[in-house]
Subunit: 200 residues, 2 copies
DNA sequence: ATGGTATGTGTACAATGTAAACAATTGCAC
DNA sequence: GTGCAATTGTTTACATTGTACACATACCAT
C-alpha cells in the first residue's frame, strides 16, 4: 500500500482486508493507525538502506579492482580519499535512486515524525544491519580518515549532507521538481553531490 | 487549519463549517478536496515568500547603511559580493525561519505535487509580488553579477541551493531532526548555508 | 418578464478510524 | 489432564470524511 500511494495510502482497514481478518484485529498488533504507519515507515527505511548498501558495494568493488591492477604503494592516502569520495557519492545516489524508484516507500519512510536518537534503531536497518543514517555516517568517517574532512567540520556532518540529498529527493518526487526528465534529475543529483563534496 | 495540523488537517467539511455553509457548498468553489488543498498550498507559499522577503530586506538595509558610512569607492565589486552572499543567506534563513515558525504552513506549502513551471505563478507570490522561487533566483542572479558564481554553474543553481535548505527544513519539522534544541537548529542552519556557499 | 448563471441546501452513500463487549484459541501451571 | 490467563479475532456500533445527485434560490442581462 505504501509502495503506491505513500503514507496516506497505508490504511488500517485495507491492511486487515489483505490479511484476511476483520478491521479491529489490527488493534491487537498496533495501538492505532499511527503505530502501524510507524512500523511501515521503519521497514521503508530498511529498504532505503538496502538500496544504499547496494550502490556503495558496487562502487567499492569497482574501486578495489582498479587499485589491485595498476598501482604502486605510494598513493595509499590518495586512494583512500578517492574511495571515500566515491563512497559518499554512492550513498547519495543510492538514497536518491531509492526515492526515484520507490517514491511511495521513500515518502512513507520519512513522513513520520521521529527523533535523531532513533536513527540507530535496528528496526530501521537493512539486510546488512545498518540504518541509512549509519551508512551515511560511515562514509563521512571514511572522509575524516582520508583527511579530506577537517576534524572541526566532522561533527554533525551527517545532517548537512543528508539535508541536501533529502531535499532534492523531496522536491523531485512530490515537490515542484516532479516531472523533470530523467536526464535533468541525473544532472541535478550530480550537481547536488558536487555541492556537498565542495561544501562539507 | 493548515497552520496547526499541516496538509492532512485541511479538511473540506471543517472548512465549510467555519464558513457557515453546508459541506457541498464547497464544490461550487473547488473541484474537490485536492483543489482546495492546492489553493491553500499556494497561499502558504505566499506566506513563505513574505517571511523570506522580510529577512532579505533586513539584511539589505543593514548592509547599505554600513556601506554608506565608511567606504571609499574602490571595493564596489567586493561589496557586491558581500551583499550577494548576505542576500542568499537571508533567503535561506528566511525559508527556514518560516519552516520553524509555521511548520504546518510550511508542510502544506510543499506537500502538494507541483511542476517547476508553476513556480512563477502569481498565486504563490507574497505581498511583494515574488514567489519563493523568484526570490531565490534573484539572490543567485546577484551572485552571478558579483562574479562569485561562475556562469557555467549558474544554470539551475536554484535547485541545488533549494534542495539543501528544503531538506533541512523537512528533517527538522517532521523528520528525524525534530526535537533538536533551537541552538542545534541554528547551528545546523548556519552550517548548511556554509555548505551551500562553498559548494554552489 | 424570462432565462441563465452562481451559489447554497438536502439527502444519500461508501470509506475510514476506533471503541466496547464477547468469543475462541493457545500456552503454561498445577 | 484441567483450569486459568494471555493472545488473537469477531461483532456491533458510531463519528467523521469525501462526494454524488437532485432541488432551491438569488441575481443579472436580455
Amino acid at each position: 500500500m505504501a509502495e503506491r500511494g505513500g503514507p496516506d495510502a497505508v490504511v488500517l482497514r485495507e491492511a486487515t482486508r489483505r490479511a484476511g481478518v476483520t478491521p479491529n484485529a489490527a488493534y491487537r498488533h498496533f495501538a492505532d493507525r499511527g503505530a502501524l504507519l510507524r512500523a511501515v515507515s521503519d521497514v521503508c527505511q530498511g529498504r532505503a538502506a538496502d538500496t544504499m548498501e547496494q550502490h556503495v558495494d558496487s562502487v567499492i568493488g569497482a574501486s578495489s579492482s582498479v587499485d589491485a591492477v595498476g598501482d604502486a604503494a605510494g598513493d595509499a592516502v590518495c586512494d583512500a580519499a578517492v574511495d571515500a569520495r566515491a563512497m559518499l557519492r554512492a550513498v547519495g545516489t543510492g538514497y536518491l535512486a531509492f526515492a526515484r524508484d520507490e517514491p511511495g516507500l521513500f515518502r512513507t519512510a520519512f513522513s513520520v515524525p521521529d527523533q535523531l536518537a532513533n536513527s540507530f534503531d535496528t528496526a530501521k536497518a537493512g539486510a546488512a544491519g545498518r540504518t541509512p543514517f549509519q551508512i551515511l555516517s560511515a562514509a563521512l568517517d571514511a572522509w575524516a580518515a582520508a583527511g579530506i574532512l577537517p576534524p572541526e567540520r566532522r561533527a554533525n556532518a551527517e545532517l548537512y549532507a543528508w539535508s541536501a540529498v533529502h531535499g532534492l529527493g523531496m522536491l523531485v518526487i512530490d515537490g515542484p521538481l516532479r516531472g523533470l526528465s530523467a536526464q535533468m534529475i541525473d544532472g541535478a543529483t550530480a550537481r547536488v553531490l558536487d555541492m556537498v563534496e565542495r561544501g562539507l
